[in-house]
Protein backbone atom coordinates (compact mmCIF):
# COMPACT_ATOMS: atom_id res chain seq x y z
CA UNK A 1 0.00 0.00 0.00
CA UNK A 2 1.24 3.51 -0.79
CA UNK A 3 1.19 5.93 2.10
CA UNK A 4 1.15 9.69 2.08
CA UNK A 5 2.53 11.72 4.95
CA UNK A 6 0.75 14.91 6.04
CA UNK A 7 2.60 17.40 8.23
CA UNK A 8 1.69 20.73 9.74
CA UNK A 9 4.02 22.71 11.98
CA UNK A 10 3.45 24.98 14.94
CA UNK A 11 6.42 27.22 15.47
CA UNK A 12 6.92 29.30 18.59
CA UNK A 13 9.17 32.23 17.80
CA UNK A 14 10.29 34.16 20.86
CA UNK A 15 10.02 37.84 19.98
CA UNK A 16 13.22 39.83 20.46
CA UNK A 17 11.79 42.50 22.74
CA UNK A 18 13.72 43.85 25.73
CA UNK A 19 10.79 43.57 28.12
CA UNK A 20 7.99 41.02 28.52
CA UNK A 21 4.73 41.06 26.63
CA UNK A 22 2.55 42.24 29.54
CA UNK A 23 5.06 43.51 32.09
CA UNK A 24 8.22 45.58 32.12
CA UNK A 25 10.50 42.78 33.39
CA UNK A 26 13.56 41.93 31.34
CA UNK A 27 13.48 39.03 28.87
CA UNK A 28 17.25 38.45 29.03
CA UNK A 29 18.19 34.77 28.72
CA UNK A 30 20.25 32.93 31.32
CA UNK A 31 19.78 35.04 34.45
CA UNK A 32 19.63 33.53 37.93
CA UNK A 33 16.21 31.89 38.63
CA UNK A 34 13.31 34.25 39.35
CA UNK A 35 15.39 37.43 39.21
CA UNK A 36 13.30 38.65 36.25
CA UNK A 37 9.84 37.74 37.50
CA UNK A 38 7.78 40.61 38.89
CA UNK A 39 4.29 40.78 40.36
CA UNK A 40 2.59 40.55 36.94
CA UNK A 41 4.69 37.56 35.87
CA UNK A 42 3.99 35.86 39.20
CA UNK A 43 0.25 36.34 38.81
CA UNK A 44 -0.12 38.26 42.06
CA UNK A 45 -3.69 39.38 42.89
CA UNK A 46 -4.66 42.80 41.62
CA UNK A 47 -2.10 43.16 38.85
CA UNK A 48 -3.05 44.06 35.31
CA UNK A 49 -1.31 43.24 32.04
CA UNK A 50 -0.21 46.11 29.77
CA UNK A 51 0.61 45.14 26.21
CA UNK A 52 4.10 45.77 24.78
CA UNK A 53 3.93 47.91 21.63
CA UNK A 54 7.02 46.32 20.13
CA UNK A 55 5.51 42.81 20.32
CA UNK A 56 2.53 44.07 18.31
CA UNK A 57 4.83 45.73 15.76
CA UNK A 58 6.87 42.56 15.35
CA UNK A 59 3.77 40.44 14.71
CA UNK A 60 2.62 42.93 12.07
CA UNK A 61 6.06 42.77 10.41
CA UNK A 62 5.74 38.99 10.25
CA UNK A 63 2.33 39.36 8.61
CA UNK A 64 3.80 41.73 6.03
CA UNK A 65 6.72 39.38 5.31
CA UNK A 66 4.36 36.45 4.65
CA UNK A 67 1.70 38.37 2.73
CA UNK A 68 -0.68 37.52 5.51
CA UNK A 69 -3.96 39.12 6.41
CA UNK A 70 -3.49 41.44 9.37
CA UNK A 71 -6.00 41.14 12.20
CA UNK A 72 -6.72 44.86 12.40
CA UNK A 73 -8.87 44.19 15.40
CA UNK A 74 -7.44 41.36 17.42
CA UNK A 75 -8.38 40.06 20.83
CA UNK A 76 -6.54 38.36 23.67
CA UNK A 77 -8.09 35.33 25.31
CA UNK A 78 -7.37 33.22 28.35
CA UNK A 79 -6.33 29.63 27.82
CA UNK A 80 -7.00 27.88 31.11
CA UNK A 81 -4.96 25.01 32.50
CA UNK A 82 -3.12 24.19 35.70
CA UNK A 83 0.62 23.73 35.85
CA UNK A 84 3.08 25.04 38.44
CA UNK A 85 5.01 27.13 35.88
CA UNK A 86 1.80 28.96 34.92
CA UNK A 87 1.08 30.96 38.07
CA UNK A 88 -2.17 32.62 36.97
CA UNK A 89 -3.77 29.30 35.99
CA UNK A 90 -4.21 30.63 32.45
CA UNK A 91 -2.00 31.68 29.59
CA UNK A 92 -2.87 34.90 27.80
CA UNK A 93 -3.09 33.99 24.13
CA UNK A 94 -5.30 34.71 21.15
CA UNK A 95 -8.03 32.46 19.84
CA UNK A 96 -10.88 33.66 17.63
CA UNK A 97 -9.28 36.90 16.46
CA UNK A 98 -5.48 36.53 16.08
CA UNK A 99 -3.18 39.36 15.01
CA UNK A 100 -2.00 37.48 11.89
CA UNK A 101 -4.40 35.65 9.57
CA UNK A 102 -3.86 33.56 6.45
CA UNK A 103 -0.50 33.96 4.73
CA UNK A 104 2.01 31.91 2.80
CA UNK A 105 5.69 31.24 2.19
CA UNK A 106 7.47 29.63 -0.70
CA UNK A 107 9.93 26.83 0.01
CA UNK A 108 12.62 25.50 -2.30
CA UNK A 109 12.86 21.75 -2.69
CA UNK A 110 15.44 19.70 -4.57
CA UNK A 111 16.06 20.40 -8.26
CA UNK A 112 14.80 23.98 -7.99
CA UNK A 113 11.23 22.83 -7.40
CA UNK A 114 9.26 25.39 -5.43
CA UNK A 115 6.22 24.84 -3.28
CA UNK A 116 3.89 27.20 -1.45
CA UNK A 117 3.08 26.41 2.16
CA UNK A 118 0.05 28.08 3.70
CA UNK A 119 0.14 29.80 7.06
CA UNK A 120 -3.16 29.39 8.86
CA UNK A 121 -2.55 32.08 11.47
CA UNK A 122 -0.03 33.49 13.89
CA UNK A 123 -0.95 34.81 17.28
CA UNK A 124 0.67 36.61 20.17
CA UNK A 125 0.91 34.89 23.52
CA UNK A 126 2.96 34.79 26.68
CA UNK A 127 5.44 32.00 27.43
CA UNK A 128 5.17 29.95 30.62
CA UNK A 129 7.94 29.56 33.19
CA UNK A 130 10.29 26.62 33.42
CA UNK A 131 9.90 23.57 35.64
CA UNK A 132 13.04 21.82 36.80
CA UNK A 133 12.39 18.20 37.73
CA UNK A 134 15.87 16.90 38.46
CA UNK A 135 17.42 19.46 40.78
CA UNK A 136 15.53 18.89 44.03
CA UNK A 137 14.79 15.50 45.53
CA UNK A 138 11.07 14.74 45.41
CA UNK A 139 10.19 18.31 44.44
CA UNK A 140 9.92 20.41 41.32
CA UNK A 141 11.66 23.77 41.11
CA UNK A 142 9.92 26.60 39.27
CA UNK A 143 11.78 29.44 37.54
CA UNK A 144 9.46 32.17 36.27
CA UNK A 145 12.04 34.28 34.42
CA UNK A 146 10.63 33.07 31.12
CA UNK A 147 7.00 33.57 32.19
CA UNK A 148 5.55 36.41 30.15
CA UNK A 149 8.18 36.37 27.41
CA UNK A 150 6.41 37.30 24.15
CA UNK A 151 5.87 34.49 21.64
CA UNK A 152 4.50 34.49 18.14
CA UNK A 153 2.94 31.09 17.51
CA UNK A 154 2.97 30.45 13.78
CA UNK A 155 0.60 27.72 12.65
CA UNK A 156 0.98 26.23 9.18
CA UNK A 157 -1.56 24.48 7.03
CA UNK A 158 -1.05 20.69 6.79
CA UNK A 159 0.67 21.30 3.45
CA UNK A 160 3.92 19.38 3.88
CA UNK A 161 4.28 15.86 2.54
CA UNK A 162 7.68 14.77 3.85
CA UNK A 163 10.12 15.43 6.65
CA UNK A 164 12.33 17.23 4.12
CA UNK A 165 9.53 19.63 3.20
CA UNK A 166 8.82 20.26 6.87
CA UNK A 167 12.49 21.12 7.44
CA UNK A 168 12.54 23.39 4.37
CA UNK A 169 9.48 25.23 5.71
CA UNK A 170 10.90 25.54 9.24
CA UNK A 171 14.19 26.85 7.83
CA UNK A 172 12.29 29.36 5.72
CA UNK A 173 10.39 30.72 8.72
CA UNK A 174 13.65 30.73 10.71
CA UNK A 175 15.34 32.73 7.97
CA UNK A 176 12.40 35.16 7.71
CA UNK A 177 12.08 35.97 11.42
CA UNK A 178 15.82 36.63 11.58
CA UNK A 179 15.76 38.81 8.45
CA UNK A 180 13.03 41.01 9.85
CA UNK A 181 14.78 40.91 13.23
CA UNK A 182 11.82 39.85 15.32
CA UNK A 183 13.48 36.70 16.75
CA UNK A 184 17.10 35.69 17.29
CA UNK A 185 16.31 32.15 16.12
CA UNK A 186 18.49 30.54 18.78
CA UNK A 187 17.17 26.98 18.97
CA UNK A 188 19.44 25.84 21.82
CA UNK A 189 18.08 28.60 24.04
CA UNK A 190 14.53 27.79 22.96
CA UNK A 191 13.93 31.05 21.08
CA UNK A 192 12.65 29.08 18.09
CA UNK A 193 10.71 25.90 18.87
CA UNK A 194 8.86 23.52 16.56
CA UNK A 195 6.00 21.14 17.21
CA UNK A 196 5.03 18.84 14.35
CA UNK A 197 1.56 17.45 13.68
CA UNK A 198 2.09 14.24 11.76
CA UNK A 199 -0.39 11.83 10.22
CA UNK A 200 -0.41 9.32 7.39
CA UNK A 201 -3.13 8.30 4.94
CA UNK A 202 -3.45 6.02 1.96
CA UNK A 203 -2.20 7.83 -1.15
CA UNK A 204 -5.02 9.49 -3.00
CA UNK A 205 -7.28 9.64 0.03
CA UNK A 206 -8.82 13.02 0.82
CA UNK A 207 -9.50 12.34 4.47
CA UNK A 208 -6.77 13.19 6.97
CA UNK A 209 -5.52 10.41 9.23
CA UNK A 210 -5.38 10.69 13.01
CA UNK A 211 -2.44 12.88 13.94
CA UNK A 212 0.13 12.83 16.67
CA UNK A 213 1.71 16.04 17.86
CA UNK A 214 5.46 15.76 18.41
CA UNK A 215 7.08 18.18 20.82
CA UNK A 216 10.61 18.97 21.91
CA UNK A 217 12.17 19.42 18.49
CA UNK A 218 15.00 21.83 19.14
CA UNK A 219 17.00 21.39 15.95
CA UNK A 220 16.21 20.95 12.26
CA UNK A 221 17.98 17.59 12.33
CA UNK A 222 15.77 16.33 15.16
CA UNK A 223 12.68 17.65 13.37
CA UNK A 224 13.54 15.55 10.33
CA UNK A 225 14.45 12.43 12.31
CA UNK A 226 11.42 12.65 14.60
CA UNK A 227 9.00 12.95 11.68
CA UNK A 228 10.61 10.03 9.86
CA UNK A 229 10.41 7.90 13.00
CA UNK A 230 6.79 8.89 13.62
CA UNK A 231 5.72 8.14 10.04
CA UNK A 232 7.22 4.64 10.27
CA UNK A 233 5.55 4.08 13.63
CA UNK A 234 2.11 5.10 12.37
CA UNK A 235 2.38 3.00 9.19
CA UNK A 236 3.42 -0.02 11.28
CA UNK A 237 0.40 0.45 13.56
CA UNK A 238 -2.08 0.74 10.69
CA UNK A 239 -0.58 -2.11 8.68
CA UNK A 240 -0.70 -4.23 11.84
CA UNK A 241 -4.44 -3.65 12.03
CA UNK A 242 -4.28 -1.05 14.81
CA UNK A 243 -5.36 2.56 15.07
CA UNK A 244 -3.24 5.64 15.64
CA UNK A 245 -4.20 7.46 18.84
CA UNK A 246 -4.43 11.24 18.84
CA UNK A 247 -1.86 12.26 21.43
CA UNK A 248 1.13 14.38 22.25
CA UNK A 249 4.48 12.63 21.85
CA UNK A 250 7.92 13.68 22.95
CA UNK A 251 10.98 13.19 20.76
CA UNK A 252 13.91 11.54 22.53
CA UNK A 253 17.04 12.42 20.57
CA UNK A 254 19.26 9.96 22.43
CA UNK A 255 17.11 7.00 21.43
CA UNK A 256 15.89 8.56 18.17
CA UNK A 257 12.24 7.75 18.92
CA UNK A 258 9.00 9.45 19.91
CA UNK A 259 7.23 8.52 23.14
CA UNK A 260 3.74 9.15 24.39
CA UNK A 261 3.83 12.03 26.87
CA UNK A 262 0.94 10.87 29.01
CA UNK A 263 -0.35 7.39 29.52
CA UNK A 264 -3.89 8.69 29.81
CA UNK A 265 -4.58 11.54 27.44
CA UNK A 266 -6.99 13.98 29.02
CA UNK A 267 -9.18 15.71 26.55
CA UNK A 268 -7.77 19.23 26.33
CA UNK A 269 -10.39 21.63 27.46
CA UNK A 270 -8.81 25.03 27.74
CA UNK A 271 -12.10 26.93 28.10
CA UNK A 272 -10.87 29.92 26.12
CA UNK A 273 -12.67 33.19 26.69
CA UNK A 274 -11.78 36.83 25.95
CA UNK A 275 -9.47 38.23 28.63
CA UNK A 276 -11.43 40.97 30.40
CA UNK A 277 -8.14 42.58 31.55
CA UNK A 278 -7.16 43.46 27.99
CA UNK A 279 -9.08 45.55 25.49
CA UNK A 280 -9.21 44.67 21.80
CA UNK A 281 -6.07 45.75 19.93
CA UNK A 282 -6.54 47.93 16.89
CA UNK A 283 -3.90 48.16 14.18
CA UNK A 284 -4.10 51.40 12.25
CA UNK A 285 -3.29 51.48 8.54
CA UNK A 286 -0.72 54.18 9.19
CA UNK A 287 1.16 51.82 11.53
CA UNK A 288 1.08 49.04 8.93
CA UNK A 289 2.55 51.36 6.29
CA UNK A 290 5.23 52.65 8.66
CA UNK A 291 6.26 49.07 9.50
CA UNK A 292 6.23 48.07 5.85
CA UNK A 293 8.75 50.83 5.28
CA UNK A 294 11.04 49.34 7.93
CA UNK A 295 11.19 45.88 6.36
CA UNK A 296 14.53 44.92 4.83
CA UNK A 297 14.87 43.19 1.47
CA UNK A 298 13.46 39.71 2.19
CA UNK A 299 15.34 36.46 1.42
CA UNK A 300 13.34 35.56 -1.71
CA UNK A 301 13.79 39.02 -3.24
CA UNK A 302 17.43 39.13 -2.29
CA UNK A 303 18.04 35.67 -3.75
CA UNK A 304 16.43 36.71 -7.03
CA UNK A 305 18.56 39.87 -7.10
CA UNK A 306 21.78 37.90 -6.41
CA UNK A 307 20.97 35.77 -9.45
CA UNK A 308 20.13 38.68 -11.76
CA UNK A 309 22.53 41.36 -10.50
CA UNK A 310 25.53 39.32 -9.39
CA UNK A 311 25.00 36.54 -11.97
CA UNK A 312 25.29 33.85 -9.34
CA UNK A 313 23.96 30.31 -9.80
CA UNK A 314 20.63 29.74 -8.00
CA UNK A 315 22.26 27.39 -5.53
CA UNK A 316 24.94 29.90 -4.47
CA UNK A 317 22.37 32.70 -4.24
CA UNK A 318 20.17 30.51 -2.04
CA UNK A 319 23.00 29.65 0.35
CA UNK A 320 24.19 33.24 0.59
CA UNK A 321 20.75 34.74 1.21
CA UNK A 322 19.35 32.15 3.64
CA UNK A 323 20.81 34.19 6.46
CA UNK A 324 20.86 37.99 6.51
CA UNK A 325 24.29 38.21 8.12
CA UNK A 326 25.78 36.03 5.37
CA UNK A 327 24.16 38.05 2.60
CA UNK A 328 25.36 41.30 4.18
CA UNK A 329 28.90 39.92 4.58
CA UNK A 330 28.96 38.73 0.99
CA UNK A 331 27.82 42.05 -0.43
CA UNK A 332 30.28 44.01 1.73
CA UNK A 333 33.19 41.84 0.54
CA UNK A 334 32.03 42.01 -3.05
CA UNK A 335 32.01 45.79 -2.93
CA UNK A 336 35.24 46.29 -0.98
CA UNK A 337 37.39 43.64 -2.69
CA UNK A 338 36.37 44.31 -6.27
CA UNK A 339 36.63 40.57 -6.91
CA UNK A 340 34.02 38.86 -9.13
CA UNK A 341 30.87 37.57 -7.39
CA UNK A 342 31.55 33.93 -8.21
CA UNK A 343 34.98 34.10 -6.53
CA UNK A 344 33.65 35.94 -3.47
CA UNK A 345 30.82 33.41 -3.23
CA UNK A 346 33.13 30.42 -3.35
CA UNK A 347 35.50 31.94 -0.79
CA UNK A 348 32.68 32.86 1.60
CA UNK A 349 30.74 29.59 1.36
CA UNK A 350 33.91 27.48 1.05
CA UNK A 351 36.98 28.70 2.90
CA UNK A 352 35.23 31.01 5.36
CA UNK A 353 32.33 28.68 6.24
CA UNK A 354 34.54 25.61 6.65
CA UNK A 355 36.75 27.47 9.14
CA UNK A 356 33.69 28.79 11.02
CA UNK A 357 32.18 25.29 11.15
CA UNK A 358 35.43 23.83 12.39
CA UNK A 359 35.53 26.34 15.25
CA UNK A 360 31.77 26.14 15.85
CA UNK A 361 31.32 29.87 15.26
CA UNK A 362 28.51 31.95 13.82
CA UNK A 363 29.44 34.32 11.02
CA UNK A 364 28.77 37.29 13.29
CA UNK A 365 31.57 35.99 15.55
CA UNK A 366 34.01 35.38 12.68
CA UNK A 367 37.63 36.14 13.62
CA UNK A 368 38.06 37.64 10.14
CA UNK A 369 35.55 40.41 9.50
CA UNK A 370 34.34 41.51 6.06
CA UNK A 371 36.94 44.27 5.89
CA UNK A 372 39.97 42.00 6.39
CA UNK A 373 38.41 39.28 4.21
CA UNK A 374 38.00 41.86 1.44
CA UNK A 375 41.69 42.75 1.77
CA UNK A 376 42.61 39.12 1.13
CA UNK A 377 40.30 38.66 -1.87
CA UNK A 378 41.51 41.93 -3.40
CA UNK A 379 45.07 40.53 -3.47
CA UNK A 380 43.90 37.28 -5.05
CA UNK A 381 41.84 39.20 -7.58
CA UNK A 382 44.79 41.44 -8.64
CA UNK A 383 47.11 38.43 -8.86
CA UNK A 384 49.38 39.54 -6.05
CA UNK A 385 48.94 36.05 -4.58
CA UNK A 386 47.54 32.77 -5.84
CA UNK A 387 44.42 31.18 -4.39
CA UNK A 388 46.51 28.50 -2.77
CA UNK A 389 48.70 31.01 -0.92
CA UNK A 390 45.49 32.89 -0.10
CA UNK A 391 44.24 29.92 1.92
CA UNK A 392 47.46 29.87 3.96
CA UNK A 393 47.18 33.61 4.57
CA UNK A 394 43.54 33.17 5.69
CA UNK A 395 44.75 30.65 8.28
CA UNK A 396 47.25 33.21 9.56
CA UNK A 397 44.61 35.97 9.60
CA UNK A 398 42.33 33.61 11.54
CA UNK A 399 44.87 33.41 14.33
CA UNK A 400 45.90 37.08 14.36
CA UNK A 401 44.68 40.61 13.81
CA UNK A 402 46.93 41.08 10.78
CA UNK A 403 45.71 42.40 7.44
CA UNK A 404 46.39 40.22 4.39
CA UNK A 405 48.75 42.86 2.94
CA UNK A 406 50.82 42.87 6.08
CA UNK A 407 51.25 39.07 6.02
CA UNK A 408 52.07 39.10 2.31
CA UNK A 409 54.82 41.69 2.80
CA UNK A 410 56.18 40.26 6.02
CA UNK A 411 56.49 36.74 4.60
CA UNK A 412 57.42 37.70 1.06
CA UNK A 413 54.47 35.90 -0.43
CA UNK A 414 53.93 38.25 -3.34
CA UNK A 415 53.34 36.26 -6.50
CA UNK A 416 56.30 36.26 -8.89
CA UNK A 417 55.10 37.93 -12.06
CA UNK A 418 58.48 39.32 -13.02
CA UNK A 419 59.15 37.31 -16.17
CA UNK A 420 62.97 37.40 -15.93
CA UNK A 421 62.81 35.89 -12.45
CA UNK A 422 60.35 33.25 -13.63
CA UNK A 423 62.38 32.52 -16.73
CA UNK A 424 65.45 31.84 -14.65
CA UNK A 425 63.56 29.34 -12.52
CA UNK A 426 62.17 27.64 -15.63
CA UNK A 427 65.64 27.42 -17.19
CA UNK A 428 67.00 25.81 -14.02
CA UNK A 429 64.19 23.25 -13.91
CA UNK A 430 64.57 22.36 -17.59
CA UNK A 431 68.33 21.99 -17.18
CA UNK A 432 67.85 19.67 -14.22
CA UNK A 433 65.43 17.38 -16.11
CA UNK A 434 66.98 16.54 -19.47
CA UNK A 435 65.26 13.18 -19.92
CA UNK A 436 61.77 14.58 -19.24
CA UNK A 437 62.55 17.38 -21.68
CA UNK A 438 63.44 14.88 -24.37
CA UNK A 439 60.24 12.92 -23.74
CA UNK A 440 58.15 16.09 -23.89
CA UNK A 441 59.71 17.12 -27.14
CA UNK A 442 59.15 13.56 -28.35
CA UNK A 443 55.39 14.14 -28.00
CA UNK A 444 54.60 13.33 -24.38
CA UNK A 445 52.88 16.67 -23.74
CA UNK A 446 51.34 15.47 -20.52
CA UNK A 447 54.71 16.19 -18.94
CA UNK A 448 53.88 19.90 -19.02
CA UNK A 449 52.16 19.54 -15.66
CA UNK A 450 55.29 17.90 -14.27
CA UNK A 451 57.35 20.95 -15.24
CA UNK A 452 54.68 23.32 -13.88
CA UNK A 453 54.83 21.46 -10.58
CA UNK A 454 58.62 21.64 -10.43
CA UNK A 455 58.73 25.39 -11.08
CA UNK A 456 55.89 25.99 -8.59
CA UNK A 457 57.87 24.07 -6.02
CA UNK A 458 61.02 26.09 -6.78
CA UNK A 459 59.03 29.33 -6.40
CA UNK A 460 57.45 28.10 -3.15
CA UNK A 461 54.03 28.43 -4.76
CA UNK A 462 54.51 32.07 -5.67
CA UNK A 463 54.74 31.75 -9.46
CA UNK A 464 51.82 33.32 -11.30
CA UNK A 465 50.19 30.17 -12.75
CA UNK A 466 48.96 31.72 -16.00
CA UNK A 467 52.22 33.38 -16.77
CA UNK A 468 54.20 30.28 -15.80
CA UNK A 469 52.20 28.10 -18.18
CA UNK A 470 52.76 30.42 -21.10
CA UNK A 471 56.48 30.89 -20.50
CA UNK A 472 57.05 27.20 -19.88
CA UNK A 473 55.31 26.16 -23.09
CA UNK A 474 57.49 28.58 -25.06
CA UNK A 475 60.70 27.38 -23.46
CA UNK A 476 59.88 23.67 -23.77
CA UNK A 477 59.32 24.10 -27.48
CA UNK A 478 63.00 25.02 -27.59
Amino acid sequence: MQWETVIGLEIHAQLATDSKIFSSSSTQFGSAPNTQANAVDLGMPGVLPVLNREAVNMAVKFALATNARIGKRNVFARKNYFYPDLPKGYQISQMALPIVGEGEVEIELEDDVKKTVGITRAHLEEDAGKSVHDLFHGQTGVDLNRAGTPLLEIVSEPDMRSAKEAVAYARKIHSLVRYIEICDGNMQEGSFRCDANVSVRVSGSEKLGTRAEIKNLNSFRFLERAINFEVERQIDIIEGGGEVVQETRLYDADRDETRSMRSKEEANDYRYFPDPDLLPVEIEDSLIEALRGQLPELPDQRCARFISEHKLPAYDAGVLTADKATADYFEAVLKQSGAPAKIVSSWVTGELFSRLNKDGLELTASPVDEHRFSGLLARIHDNTISGKIGKDILDKMWASEDEADHIIDKEGLRQISDSSELEKMIDDVIAANPSQLAEYRGGKEKLLSYFVGQVMKASRGKANPGQLNQLLKDKLKG
Binding site: T17, D18, S19, S23, S24, S25, S26, A32, P33, N34, T35, Q36, A37, N38, A39, L42, V50, L51, N52, R53, E54, A55, V56, V75, N80, F82, Y83, P84, A96, L97, S131, V132, H133, L135, F136, G138, Q139, T140, G141, V142, D143, L144, M261, R262, D269, R271, P274, P276, L278, L279, P280, V281, E282
Partner: protein, 95 residues
Protein backbone atom coordinates in the same frame (compact mmCIF):
# COMPACT_ATOMS: atom_id res chain seq x y z
CA UNK B 1 -28.98 23.16 27.23
CA UNK B 2 -29.02 20.91 30.27
CA UNK B 3 -25.94 20.18 32.33
CA UNK B 4 -25.67 16.53 33.37
CA UNK B 5 -23.84 15.14 36.39
CA UNK B 6 -20.81 14.00 34.38
CA UNK B 7 -20.37 17.53 33.07
CA UNK B 8 -20.53 18.89 36.63
CA UNK B 9 -17.80 16.46 37.72
CA UNK B 10 -15.68 17.27 34.65
CA UNK B 11 -15.95 21.02 35.29
CA UNK B 12 -15.06 20.54 38.95
CA UNK B 13 -11.98 18.61 37.91
CA UNK B 14 -10.88 21.22 35.36
CA UNK B 15 -11.30 23.95 37.98
CA UNK B 16 -9.60 21.80 40.64
CA UNK B 17 -12.62 22.24 42.91
CA UNK B 18 -13.55 19.47 45.30
CA UNK B 19 -17.30 18.92 45.46
CA UNK B 20 -19.48 16.83 47.73
CA UNK B 21 -20.75 13.84 45.68
CA UNK B 22 -24.17 14.21 47.30
CA UNK B 23 -24.57 17.67 45.84
CA UNK B 24 -23.68 16.90 42.22
CA UNK B 25 -27.29 16.43 41.16
CA UNK B 26 -28.28 19.74 42.76
CA UNK B 27 -25.43 21.58 40.99
CA UNK B 28 -26.50 20.08 37.68
CA UNK B 29 -30.02 21.45 38.13
CA UNK B 30 -28.80 24.89 39.25
CA UNK B 31 -26.39 25.21 36.33
CA UNK B 32 -29.03 24.07 33.87
CA UNK B 33 -31.32 26.79 35.21
CA UNK B 34 -28.63 29.46 34.73
CA UNK B 35 -28.07 28.32 31.15
CA UNK B 36 -31.80 28.28 30.47
CA UNK B 37 -31.96 31.91 31.61
CA UNK B 38 -29.18 32.86 29.21
CA UNK B 39 -30.75 30.84 26.41
CA UNK B 40 -33.62 33.30 26.26
CA UNK B 41 -31.21 35.60 24.43
CA UNK B 42 -31.04 33.16 21.55
CA UNK B 43 -34.49 34.32 20.54
CA UNK B 44 -33.02 37.67 19.53
CA UNK B 45 -31.70 37.93 15.97
CA UNK B 46 -28.01 38.85 16.31
CA UNK B 47 -26.92 37.97 12.78
CA UNK B 48 -25.75 41.54 12.05
CA UNK B 49 -24.19 42.22 15.45
CA UNK B 50 -20.41 42.07 15.82
CA UNK B 51 -19.26 39.71 18.57
CA UNK B 52 -18.21 41.76 21.57
CA UNK B 53 -14.88 41.09 23.26
CA UNK B 54 -15.19 43.80 25.88
CA UNK B 55 -18.09 45.86 27.21
CA UNK B 56 -16.36 49.21 26.67
CA UNK B 57 -15.69 50.59 23.22
CA UNK B 58 -12.14 51.53 24.07
CA UNK B 59 -9.07 49.97 22.49
CA UNK B 60 -5.95 48.67 24.17
CA UNK B 61 -3.30 51.19 25.12
CA UNK B 62 0.23 50.03 24.46
CA UNK B 63 3.36 50.23 26.56
CA UNK B 64 6.82 51.14 25.26
CA UNK B 65 9.28 48.25 25.24
CA UNK B 66 11.38 49.37 28.20
CA UNK B 67 12.63 47.35 31.17
CA UNK B 68 11.53 49.11 34.36
CA UNK B 69 11.51 46.28 36.88
CA UNK B 70 14.56 45.04 38.73
CA UNK B 71 15.25 41.96 40.78
CA UNK B 72 12.80 41.71 43.69
CA UNK B 73 13.15 37.99 44.19
CA UNK B 74 13.91 38.14 47.88
CA UNK B 75 10.78 40.12 48.62
CA UNK B 76 8.53 37.83 46.56
CA UNK B 77 10.02 34.64 47.96
CA UNK B 78 9.41 35.76 51.54
CA UNK B 79 5.74 34.83 51.12
CA UNK B 80 6.37 31.60 49.20
CA UNK B 81 5.75 28.35 51.13
CA UNK B 82 9.07 26.89 50.04
CA UNK B 83 12.05 28.04 47.99
CA UNK B 84 15.56 26.78 47.36
CA UNK B 85 18.44 28.27 45.43
CA UNK B 86 16.17 30.92 43.94
CA UNK B 87 13.53 28.43 42.77
CA UNK B 88 9.96 28.20 44.01
CA UNK B 89 9.46 24.61 45.16
CA UNK B 90 6.30 22.61 44.56
CA UNK B 91 5.48 18.92 45.02
CA UNK B 92 7.10 16.78 42.33
CA UNK B 93 5.26 17.14 39.04
CA UNK B 94 5.43 13.81 37.27
CA UNK B 95 5.25 13.96 33.51
Amino acid sequence: MAVDEDTVRAMAHLARVQIDPDRVAGYATEMSNVLALAEQMEEVDTSDVEPMAHPTHAVQRLRDDVVLEGNEREQFQEIAPETNDGYYLVPQVIE
